[in-house]
């Protein structure tokens, strides 16, 4: 709830600067390794839409979650692979401690308003 509120406040403030009255859609980028759960975000988003406690976020607002896949590079053989959580273990050479290349993002990509 806290993270969604943070994101929606940022969108709401930006929309105010652009003179928009309502926000129709919010697009977030959520990385597989960001520890942010898309289902929890959707739940929180729906709750804020219903309560109307954040200015310009109403019942009709839509949420889009764009997934960013996790990617790690093996420190030994250089292979790039999708790690499971933070136990980044190379599938080729069994070397742990893969260096995370992507998947930690949690940001607002864009929004649509009118």
């Amino acid at each position: 709830m806290g993270l969604m509120e943070e994101a929606l406040q940022m969108v709401s403030e930006d929309a105010e600067k652009h003179g928009l009255e309502t926000i129709d859609k919010v697009s977030l980028i959520v990385g597989d390794l960001s520890n942010v759960l898309p289902d929890a975000l959707r739940f929180a988003f729906d709750a804020f839409c219903k309560t109307g406690e954040i200015p310009r976020i109403g019942e009709r607002a839509q949420l889009e979650i764009i997934r960013e896949r996790g990617l790690a590079r093996c420190a030994l053989c250089g292979k790039e692979y999708e790690p499971s959580e933070y136990l980044a273990l190379c599938p080729e050479c069994d070397m742990p401690f893969g260096v995370i290349q992507s998947g930690e993002t949690f940001k607002i990509e864009s929004y649509e308003g009118s």
Partner: protein
């Protein structure tokens, strides 16, 4: 109308944490953010730590809880200054909550500030408070699988206090396995077994705090 924002959601938090960090640097206060699940023993560890170190250092504690002043009262009973933050439903502390209570702390007269986060192994790990060190407490009855199940918490912390080792023989907790799992998630962290109740292993922790304090005076 579509507006591209490309803004990190944590941006405001990170900025607030940096603000706190500057204040801690100026006053040369060592700040330790302690996290764990509910009941792992954070408050007991802080009570004993405050009692052991308050002769040498000026200590203050910020207690984070969803409701009540209970933990702050327990810490105050040791003679140390304690400020309670009631988060009113939020499951973690964020850096702005910390900034708001700093005037009550008086950093210039504080050598070591402990921040006891809300009992939760998930959300507190996502919020930088501006601290020098983040540590986690895991108690033996909780079991070994907390480490692989909450990887971010063990990824962002640099020390895992394994509390309640006086109960080790009544649980299936395996200290070697804990160290091994931790190494896979965070090679620069390590476990430190202790019992806040019996005092076993507690000197290691007190020495760690003292060394961290010395290091923070030199920066």
């Amino acid at each position: 109308m579509k507006i591209t924002l490309e803004k990190d959601v944590m941006e405001n938090n990170d900025r607030a944490a940096e603000f706190n960090r500057q204040l801690f640097r100026q006053s040369k206060t060592l700040v330790i953010n302690i996290m764990s699940s509910p009941g792992a023993g954070k408050t007991t560890i802080l009570e004993k730590t405050a009692a052991a170190l308050s002769g040498q250092f000026r200590i203050a504690v910020i207690e984070g809880d969803i409701a009540t002043e209970r933990d702050a009262d327990r810490v105050r009973a040791t003679g140390v200054r304690a400020v309670q933050i009631a988060t009113e439903g939020e499951c973690h502390l964020d850096p702005r909550m910390i900034a708001k209570v700093l005037p009550d702390i008086n950093l210039e007269e504080t050598d070591i500030l402990f921040i006891e986060n809300v009992g939760n192994l998930v959300c507190p790990s996502e919020f930088d408070l501006g601290q020098d060190h983040r540590i986690v407490v895991l108690s033996t009855p909780e079991g070994n699988d907390k480490i692989p199940k909450y990887p971010l918490m063990f990824h962002v912390t640099e020390l895992a206090l394994i509390n309640k080792i006086d109960l080790l023989s009544y649980t299936s907790f395996d200290l070697e396995k804990a160290q091994e799992d931790l190494r896979g998630i965070n090679p620069s962290s390590r476990i430190m077994p202790l019992s806040a109740r019996t005092g076993e292993g507690f000197d290691d922790w007190l020495n760690w705090v003292k060394e961290a304090y010395q290091a923070c005076q030199k920066r």
